[in-house]
Each structure stands twice: as structure tokens, then as C-alpha cells.
């Protein structure tokens, strides 16, 4: 990573490119590590020093070639193009997404709120309706009781009338019967009177000797 960033600055890559495919005999790791052994053969020592010096002098020339175009912080026309693309995306998304859906959601929220408040209003309406219903019930009860009273009165009057009629009839019959009885009595008395006169004449005739 550090190499890449280092390589990103173009001035560093000035070292002459080494030929990539150099047929080299592959040295074993042991030739690379004798630094750490105590007895250093002079030949390997010189190799090690050459490695160190060349490493210090040229920072991995072939790697640098590999990363010649590796530029992390490479500003070019991409930057303004991306900015323009972003602005285009912003306006298009606004036309396509934020504004329509936002307005739609706001409208729906307003509608829901309105409906909620109207529901609160209907609670008073319900109360009104209940009162109305109670009034209707009261009226109906009053009507029924009035009708009941009226009927009671009517039936009572009828009964009274019938009673009076019956009484009158009975009285009339009684009167008649009494009259009849009186008449019969008088008749009997009359007949008795005449019989009495005859009987008293007979008695007189019997008691008194005929002169």
C-alpha cells in the first residue's frame, strides 16, 4: 500500500526499467539469510551489501514499473463529470421521487388527520342522535300512556253507561212488578170488600131473626 502511494507521485518513477524476464538461477533462501549467521562468508557478505545498497538506491524498479500508472490521488475530468452527474441525479430524483411522493405523503397525512378530527366530531353527532332517540322514546311513551288513559276512560264510561242502563232496566222492572202487585192487592181487596158485604149480610141474617 505504501509502495502504491509512493508510486502515485510521478516524480519517483524515474528509475530505468529493468528487463522483466531475466533468466536467473533461483537462489535458495539460505543465500538470502546468512546475515543472521555468525560466520559470514565474504562472498555472501558482498551480495548482501549489494542488495542493501541497490534497495536503498532504487525502490524496487520493476515494481515501480508495474505501478507506473498506479495513481490513487489522480484528479482529472472525472471529478467535474461526477459532480454534474450528481446534480443531474439530484434534480431527476427530485422530479421523480422526493417531490411527488413527498407531496403525496403529506396530502395523505392531512387527509388522515382530517378524518380523525371528523371522527371526533361524529362523537358529538352520536350524542345528538342519542338524545334524539331518547326524545323519540319519551314521546312514544307519552303517546302510549295517553292512549292508554283514553282507552281506560272510554271503557270506564262504557261500563258506567251499561251499568246505568242495567240499573234502569231493573228499576223499571221492579216498578212494574210493584205496580202489578199493588193492582192485584187492590183487586183482591175490592173482591174481598164485596165478599165482606155479602158475608156480613149473611151473618146479620143468621144472627138476627127474621122479622
Amino acid at each position: 500500500m505504501a509502495n502504491m502511494i509512493m508510486a502515485s507521485s510521478k516524480t519517483l518513477i524515474t528509475s530505468p526499467p529493468t528487463p522483466k524476464s531475466t533468466p536467473t538461477p533461483i537462489p535458495s533462501l539460505t543465500t538470502l539469510t546468512p546475515k543472521f549467521s555468525f560466520s559470514i562468508p565474504p562472498k555472501t557478505l558482498t551480495i548482501a551489501t549489494t542488495i542493501a545498497t541497490t534497495l536503498a538506491a532504487t525502490p524496487l524498479p520493476s515494481l515501480a514499473e508495474e505501478f507506473e500508472k498506479a495513481q490513487l490521488f489522480d484528479f482529472d475530468l472525472t471529478l467535474p463529470i461526477i459532480a454534474a452527474e450528481f446534480l443531474f441525479l439530484m434534480f431527476t430524483l427530485d422530479k421523480l421521487y422526493y417531490s411527488p411522493l413527498g407531496n403525496f405523503m403529506d396530502k395523505r397525512d392531512a387527509e388522515i388527520k382530517e378524518k380523525l378530527s371528523s371522527v371526533k366530531d361524529t362523537s358529538t353527532e352520536v350524542k345528538q342522535l342519542e338524545e334524539q332517540a331518547a326524545a323519540v322514546m319519551r314521546a312514544a311513551r307519552a303517546e302510549i300512556s295517553a292512549a292508554l288513559n283514553k282507552m281506560k276512560k272510554e271503557t270506564a264510561a262504557e261500563v258506567d253507561a251499561k251499568l246505568a242502563e242495567g240499573r234502569k232496566k231493573v228499576e223499571a222492572e221492579l216498578q212494574e212488578a210493584l205496580g202489578n202487585l199493588e193492582k192485584q192487592k187492590e183487586e183482591t181487596i175490592k173482591s174481598l170488600d164485596s165478599q165482606i158485604a155479602a158475608l156480613s149480610q149473611e151473618i146479620v141474617n143468621k144472627v138476627l131473626p127474621v122479622q
Binding site: I47, L77, M90, Y98, L101
Partner: protein, 247 residues
């Protein structure tokens, strides 16, 4: 010298094995200027995804949202919430900016993690998340700077510059420096996070091709989302900061 070239060869071998291509660009030439083609291609794909899905989901809004519309309403609510928290009551005009910032970065980051860009071979360089390139992040950060200057200037006119000597005039240099550090930190935070995430995944995949990279990939998804949110939130915070009245 032989030994040296050998060690370099082995290094190259390792390098080829890992397949990391950092700072390699697929250059296009437009009127004498160089352009990073891979960034533009992936950004077009991201823009197409955003516009297409939004158009499809919001085409015919229903009172009772379902599926895509529901999701996009949730996203819009989220963006509005972020803008409102950072900017305050006058957040309305800034919703498109903050929202696009969030969505573009988020979809870019996730496209880098989820879409198999690497299948498509380029002559040079490779396709990756657009936010993987410093040009993209710097463009977004500079737009944020422009946005908060615009917000402050339209809200308060030239008295906006009074904030530079606000607590005391001694802080003037620091306040001016802030205008440079803000875009710098914004762009490098995003760039570094996304690049590092992709590098970690690529290197891990090259070392242990199965199972082991999966947690790191999930971590990458998580950081990608977080970075998008951080960028959008900070942009909104800067805008809100320049709009708020100082006494």
C-alpha cells in the same frame, strides 16, 4: 542483482495472485483530458438503478402503500428525519440534496460490495464502487461545501461571513481552516473506508477463498451503509450549521 530481481519476481507473483489493482484506471480521453472510465461506467449503473427503481415504485402511488412504494416511503421518511434533525424546521428544500447524497453513496458502496463487477474485464483497471475513486468523493465533498455556503449566503446574506469571527476574532484562522478541513475529511473518510474495505475483502479472498471472507464482507456492507449515513448526516449538519442564527 540476480537475487534482487528474483525477490521482485516472487513479489510480483504474490501481487498477481492477490489480484489487487489499486490506482489502476481505465483511461478515456475526452477533449485532451483524461477520465476514469471505470468510475463513470459504475456511476451510470448506480444512477440507472436509482432512477429506475424510484420511477418504478413511485409511478402510481396508492393510499395504502405496498411493496416498493412502502420501501421508498420509508426511505424518504428516513431522509426527511435526518435532514430535519440536522437542519431544523427549514429542512424542506434540502431534502433532495441530502437524500441524493445518501442514496448515491449508499447504492455506490453496496454496488461495490454486492454487484459482481469483477466479472466484466476491462483492458486496464477494474470496475468497482464509484466511491472507490478519490474523484467521486472529492466531487461530493466539494458539492457539500458549495451547498453549505449557498445555504448560509441565501439565508443571511453577506452577514454569513460574520460567523468567521464569531466567538472571537482570534479564531478567524481556525474558522477559515475549517472550510478546507470539512471537504477534506468528508472525501478522505469515504474514500479510505470504501477502498480499504474492498482491499481487505480482495486480499482475504485471495488468501482464503472460502468462508473466511464472508464476515468481512458483511462488515463491509455495514461500514458502507454507515459511511453513506455519515456523509449525508455531516453534509446536513454543515448546512444546518451555516443556516442557524448566531447571536
Amino acid at each position: 542483482m540476480n537475487v534482487l530481481s528474483c525477490s521482485i519476481n516472487t513479489l510480483n507473483g504474490l501481487y498477481d495472485l492477490s489480484g489487487v489493482e489499486v490506482g489502476q484506471h481505465f483511461y478515456w480521453k475526452i477533449g485532451g483530458f483524461q477520465v476514469h472510465g471505470q468510475v463513470l461506467i459504475t456511476s451510470w449503473v448506480v444512477i440507472a438503478i436509482l432512477l429506475g427503481s424510484a420511477a418504478l415504485a413511485v409511478r402510481n402511488p396508492q393510499t395504502i402503500p405496498t411493496g416498493g412504494q412502502n420501501f421508498f416511503e420509508y426511505v424518504l421518511e428516513f431522509i426527511r428525519d435526518v435532514s430535519k434533525t440536522q437542519i431544523g424546521e427549514e429542512y424542506g428544500p434540502w431534502v433532495p440534496f441530502i437524500g441524493t447524497m445518501f442514496l448515491f453513496i449508499f447504492v455506490s458502496n453496496w454496488s461495490g460490495a454486492l454487484l459482481p463487477w469483477k466479472i466484466i474485464q476491462l483492458p486496464h483497471g477494474e470496475l468497482a464502487a464509484p466511491t472507490n475513486d478519490i474523484n467521486t468523493t472529492v466531487a461530493l465533498a466539494l458539492l457539500t461545501s458549495v451547498a453549505y455556503f449557498y445555504a448560509g449566503l441565501t439565508k443571511k446574506g453577506l452577514s454569513y461571513f460574520g460567523k468567521y469571527i464569531q466567538p472571537t476574532p482570534i479564531l478567524l484562522p481556525i474558522n477559515i481552516l475549517e472550510d478546507f478541513t470539512k471537504p477534506l475529511s468528508l472525501s478522505f473518510r469515504l474514500f479510505g473506508n470504501i477502498l480499504a474495505d474492498e482491499l481487505v475483502v480482495v486480499v482475504l479472498v485471495s488468501l482464503v477463498p472460502s468462508v473466511v471472507p464472508i464476515p468481512v464482507m458483511f462488515l463491509g456492507l455495514f461500514t458502507s451503509g454507515i459511511q453513506a449515513l455519515i456523509f449525508a448526516t455531516l453534509a446536513a449538519a454543515y448546512i444546518g450549521e451555516s443556516m442557524e442564527g448566531h447571536h
